[in-house]
Amino acid sequence: MTPVLAVENLRKSFGDLVAVDGVDFEVAEGEIFGFLGPNGAGKTTTISMIAGLLRPDDGEIRVDGVSIADDARAVKRKLGVVPQDVAVYAELSARENLRFWGGIYGLKGQALRERIEELLDQVGLSERADDPVKQYSGGMKRRLNLAMGLIHRPRLILLDEPTVGIDPQARKKILEIVESITRGGQTVLYTTHYLEEAESFCDRLAIIDHGRILAEGSIAQLKAQLGEGSLLTVQGEFLEQPFREILAGLGDLREVEITDGRAMLLVPGGSRGVGPALEGLYGAGLHLDDVLIKEPNLEDLFLKLTGRELRD
């Protein structure tokens, strides 16, 4: 079955800076595919190329089997782009904004009016629909920004960090709307650097950093890359190299990340293995100031893959 979106060997540089470096992935119909990575990882550049805003240096993008290089207009007709920064006309009302963008996609008359009302209701802007957008709060503008990308019922929705830079309450509202969209069975490419959003919405994820996909798969598949067990993080007065030597003598404990004064270890057998592991560390003469035990998540995988945290 032809994927809704297929990206092959995508590359883009800006001078000496390689922003996207050979990215490949596919998104199947009805799938929510997450693009998880820190700021500057290449997420927005990738989305911009898919949206036709940037021309790739190399590689191919196909939507429903049609290459954007061959028929950009046909591809763009199927896309609903929700940019990271709010891109609306502040002088116009929400209804006028939606009417204008709907007109661009050929919607008119009763069909357009009905669709506008439906979306205003969905994003909770019906009561303020005729007020100028410049009078809206940040969260309301974000909701309108989202609605504008959905006006023509796109085949593929590109959501570029839709919750970035807003307060928790507004974020919650946006996430509810996104959830309602995803429940409708639409195909979505969702970029974020918020781990919990990626884990709660996405069927599959790609972890991207420095323009490359480091890992790809379902949440379970990705977590499995860390291995089964609990994560034990210890902090104390130790150096990296001596700690490794001690670790080598402690059997099944696996290194996730070790630096001077801090180590993250995977303990096989879950929480039951933590006690013996700590006994081993103390027994080796280490002085530990802080101990943290938790279940591994994607943040830990990202740390393992890149050596840095997602929000660095």
């Binding site: 036709g52 207009r73 763009k76 782009v81 891109a87 609306v88 502040a90 002088e91 661009i104």
Partner: protein, 401 residues
């Protein structure tokens, strides 16, 4: 494609009209400027008011040459009379040389030739006006000579034979109104150089088309870049050409509306003689549209170029003000093109306003027909194409498309 561009142009025009400062700039400020400048310079500006510089080298220095000089003084010359060529005579704008044989040749009935030379940088329209004035002085002088000869008691063969009384009589006759006069007129308003309202009203129109489109347009383009709506438009099925074409169509319409508003205002000022303003666009007013469309198009494309160069609205607006003023000044919106020195006119050719003003003057002042606007219109279309290409490139380098 046209429908998509029209959809964008209509939307942009609506946004333009929602901004009160744009309406003020389009409807109030230019009309106030037009009123002010037209009333300050409301003098008719016809041939009677125009003094054309002329240097006369009178090598003859006889009473006959003096009588001829007096006849020239009766015309609208700003005269400087020399007995011999001054050291800097090559710098003089217009020089009429009366040969040493002038008086004797006239008395002997022999042909005599006056030499009229013009400096390469002299104003062509003033040169033509000088020739007309000279022609009128010649005709008047011949009439004076005929009257003088009739009053003489005898015929003279040599200038020394003429007594003081006869000499004084010739000079007196030269000062009297001529029996034969030549009414020289330009087709149209009869102005060798546009002046008064004939200069300031078309000048203000050409200037405010540039100012309104360039300032309002470059501000809105940079604002759209900044707020992300331009990029969002480019992610829709509309092609890059359609999006930028829609912007140019909107800006061209703004320029045209501005021009039509000022045409109407200028005609009304003339019709009601507001502040003594005497003005009409004349019988070729409908032909003006043939110039206004390419002019508005050229300015719209220039705006696309300027809008693409800058990231912030403040930068774009500042540059638009500066550029608009420069283009208006060198383009002849503030003073007549015909009064500008040769070097300035070469520079002026790089301003779209120059070509618009040339066409306006050809139609309004010089009474020329529609054919006079073909070349300016083609050049303005060329300007538009060049700026559109540059605008496309600056928009791309600005990360748009």
């Amino acid at each position: 494609m046209t429908g998509r561009m029209w959809h964008l142009a209509r939307h942009d025009s609506r946004l333009f009209l929602l901004r009160k400062e744009n309406l003020f700039f389009m409807l109030v400020m230019p009309i106030l400027f037009m009123l002010f400048f037209s009333s300050v310079f409301r003098g008719g500006g016809g041939p009677e008011d125009v003094k054309v510089k002329l240097s006369v080298i009178d090598q003859d220095r006889s009473f006959l040459s003096h009588a001829f000089v007096r006849q020239l003084e009766g015309e609208h010359f700003d005269l400087a009379v020399f007995d011999a060529a001054p050291a800097d005579s090559v710098e003089l704008l217009r020089v009429l040389t009366i040969p040493a044989s002038f008086g004797d040749s006239i008395l002997a009935g022999r042909k005599v030739e006056l030499d009229f030379t013009k400096h390469p940088d002299s104003n062509l329209s003033y040169d033509v006006a000088a020739e007309m004035h000279l022609h009128r002085a010649q005709v008047a002088f011949l009439g004076t000579l005929i009257r003088w000869e009739q009053e003489l008691s005898r015929r003279f063969d040599h200038i020394d034979q003429v007594g003081e009384a006869d000499r004084a009589r010739l000079l007196a006759l030269a000062a009297e109104p001529s029996l034969v006069t030549v009414q020289d007129r330009w087709a149209g308003e009869g102005r060798p150089v546009p002046s008064g309202a004939g200069q300031s009203i078309p000048g203000m129109l050409a200037m405010f088309v540039v100012m309104t489109v360039l300032i309002g347009g470059s501000e809105s383009l940079t604002r759209e870049k900044h707020q992300g709506t331009l990029a969002r438009l480019l992610s829709t099925p509309f092609s890059r050409g359609e999006v930028l074409g829609g912007k140019v169509l909107h800006l061209t319409l703004v320029g045209l509306v501005q021009a039509l508003v000022l045409m109407g205002a200028g005609e009304a000022m003339g019709a009601f003689h507001l502040f003594g303003i005497d003005f009409s666009w004349g019988p070729h007013a409908p032909t003006l549209i043939l110039v206004l469309i390419p002019y508005a198009f050229a300015v719209a494309c220039l705006t696309l170029f300027v809008g693409g160069l800058f990231r912030t609205t403040q930068q774009a607006e500042s540059m638009a003000w500066l550029l608009g003023m420069i283009l208006a000044a060198i383009g002849g919106c503030w003073w007549p093109l015909e009064a500008m020195p040769h070097g300035a006119r070469v520079l002026a050719a790089f301003s779209p306003a120059y070509w618009a003003m040339s066409a306006f003057h050809a139609l309004i002042t010089f009474g020329q027909g529609p054919s006079a606007v073909i070349l300016p219109s083609l050049i303005l279309i060329g300007f538009g194409a060049l700026f559109a290409w540059l605008g496309g490139r600056t928009m791309r380098s600005g990360g748009i498309g």
